[in-house]
């Protein structure tokens, strides 16, 4: 675990302790399970976002994709009578295809990721609303689907979503930090040209990042759809891409690419949900929700950056004293 991750963990614990002292309900089993469920849901596509951000890209379409795929999943299971495992596979494949489309547009046609996924945000939202005629997609009244409650089940009180998050995070950690592909992601994100000159097929690596991102987002979309049970296409998943980006930035990802860790982004997702919970438990008007979140992220990143700059200065002064020579100064502002 890196120092940055440790700092974030301490922040989560401090905030958690503060909330607990104000309202002991914070640590009630029910509240923990609810928060854990949300962490699981948001963590899934925050990790997904991390894969894209590390290549220096961004995926703004996550929220709309969650709405569109959620609508489709509920509709084909509830209204078209497709068995849910088949619907599950269809939705995941659809997600992967959308990711592939993003990846191809970005790598083959050299479009900026921001533009491609911003258009995705608009298109998917529009298609979701158009598909149901702006009506809420839901399951027919009284219908049950054997096995489908897996997505909302609790095993000994532990929500399946957080268990899945643990599994996905473990795999993602191995892939990003211990595998060749992960190393290529870091290299491509920092210096795509260098990576290409080293014989890395950079388009393949970047494209794969978008496919992974969309695939995980599709998985999260199904969980979200089952969590809400009904999907209103105009509001479902609004701003969720920003939660994911915020979690990644809090977790030490650089929006310029090449920096980040899976532990960091998971901790970022946890902190965001704890803050959300804080707003509810401390009786802060929920309309201030975003304001609280924005302020904490701003202060957190600011402190981290200033601390980084301070340490860089100390390091520089220290090594200058030691060797009598000046090493090349690091970037004046540490990259986020």
């Amino acid at each position: 675990m890196k120092k940055k991750d440790l700092g974030l963990l301490v922040l989560i614990l401090v905030v958690g302790l503060g909330v607990y002292l104000q309202n002991p309900l914070f640590l009630s089993p029910n509240n923990i399970a609810n928060t854990a469920n949300l962490i699981g849901l948001f963590g899934l596509f925050a990790i997904a976002q991390g894969f894209v951000i590390i290549t220096g890209g961004i995926d703004l379409s996550a929220g709309s994709m969650i709405a569109l795929l959620g609508v489709l999943f509920v509709d084909i299971v509830g209204n078209r009578g497709v068995p849910w495992p088949i619907a599950f596979v269809i939705v995941i494949i659809l997600g992967l295809l959308l990711g592939l489309a993003h990846g191809l547009l970005i790598t083959r046609l050299k479009m900026p990721p921001f533009v491609v996924t911003l258009c995705g945000l608009l298109i998917y939202r529009g298609v979701a609303r158009g598909y149901t005629g702006d009506a809420t997609a839901g399951f027919p009244f009284g219908s049950t689907y054997p096995g489908l409650d897996f997505f909302t089940a609790r095993i000994y009180g532990v929500p399946t979503s957080i268990l899945l998050l643990l599994v996905v995070a473990a795999i993602a950690w191995v892939v990003l930090h211990r595998s060749v592909f992960g190393r290529y992601l870091f290299a491509v994100g920092k210096n795509e040209e260098a990576a290409r000159f080293s014989g890395i097929r950079t388009n393949l690596v970047i494209g794969a990042a978008y496919v992974i991102c969309a695939g995980l987002t599709a998985l999260a979309a199904i969980f979200f759809a089952m969590y809400t049970r009904s999907v209103s296409p105009s509001s479902h998943g609004n701003f969720y891409e920003l939660y994911a980006i915020a979690a990644a930035v809090l977790g030490g990802f650089s929006l310029r690419g090449g920096e980040g860790s899976i532990i960091g982004v998971v901790l970022g997702a946890i902190l965001l949900q704890v803050l959300q919970n804080l707003v509810n438990l401390l009786g802060i008007p929920s309309s201030l929700n975003f304001a609280v979140m924005g302020t904490v992220i701003l202060v957190g990143v600011l402190v981290d950056q200033q601390w980084g700059a301070y340490r860089a200065r100390r390091l520089l002064a220290g090594s200058a004293r030691e060797s009598g020579a000046k090493p090349t100064p690091p970037d004046p502002v540490p990259e986020r």
């Binding site: 595998s179 190393r183 690091p330």
Partner: protein, 264 residues
């Protein structure tokens, strides 16, 4: 026998001619300085040899055999390594990670030779895990390479925190990974302090002593005279001189570069 022979290499970008009929031979254990003004075609020529560009016309022969290079990976597999001007390092990674970039040692491919193979020709390719990096193996080998080059660079250090000379050592160590026969260096002394230039020049000599043929592109005439055996001058895409360093002088080279002297 010549390690590398270029015959009448030309390169055009649309209507623009970057190189006209360049011929050049390179012997093992020889350092050839390639000099010329900005836009004279030095980098284009090197990128053709490195497989980045295809020549519009002309032939390349390696050890007497005609070859056609399909990309940098292909060139590398044929024993041609390149140190790029902008160093082509990813400075968010460690020295070792940069040395092995694109040919990482993994738990299924534990040697550089095997790492260069496509996955389906590797031993144990059927192992159903993603290719897991062999950190320890890479740190160890990187440490050995730095030792060979007598550089004090540490494999675990981030390239971001390194001086220009250390970055060069990383870039040069990269080329040693595969026992190349030819190393191309594009302005290795351009971006570093005077003190570190000497360090880099001695790295070049160490490569030469191992029998590697080197093409050194440089703007810095003193560096060329310090390490090169032969020098080739390009002007506006044409070769205007190809002679032993001992028979030339910095004044003559400057004249050839600027055009004050037509040909030599």
């Amino acid at each position: 026998m010549a390690v590398l022979e270029l015959e009448d290499i030309s390169k055009q970008y649309g209507a623009i001619t970057a190189l006209t009929n360049i011929s050049l031979t390179l012997e093992a254990g020889q350092v050839v300085g390639l000099v010329g003004d900005n836009g004279a075609g030095k980098t284009t020529l090197v990128k053709i040899i490195a497989g980045n560009f295809h020549p519009t016309s002309g032939h390349i022969r390696l050890n007497g055999e005609p070859v056609s290079l399909h990309g940098p990976k292909d060139a590398r597999s044929k024993g041609i390594e390149i140190v790029y001007q902008d160093l082509a390092l990813a400075d968010n990674l460690t020295a070792a990670a940069n040395i092995f970039l694109g040919r990482e040692l993994t738990l299924t491919a534990r040697t550089p030779e095997e790492a260069e193979r496509p996955w389906y020709r590797r031993r144990r390719w059927w192992l159903p895990v993603p290719e897991i990096l062999d950190y320890r193996g890479m740190y160890k080998r990187a440490g050995e390479l730095f030792m060979e080059l007598k550089s004090e660079t540490r494999p675990r250090d981030l390239v971001r925190r390194m001086s220009g000379g250390q970055r060069q050592a990383v870039a040069i160590a990269r080329t040693r990974l595969s026992n190349p026969r030819i190393v191309l260096m594009d302005e290795p002394t351009a971006a570093i302090s005077v003190r570190q230039v000497a360090e880099v020049l001695s790295l070049i000599r160490r490569l030469r002593d191992q029998g590697i043929a080197i093409i050194l592109i440089s703007h810095r005439i003193p560096d060329v005279f310090a390490v090169c055996d032969r020098l080739v001058v390009l002007r506006r895409g044409e070769k205007v001189a190809d002679k032993n360093v001992a028979d030339s002088s910095p004044e003559e080279v400057t004249g050839l570069i600027t055009g004050a002297i037509e040909r030599a």
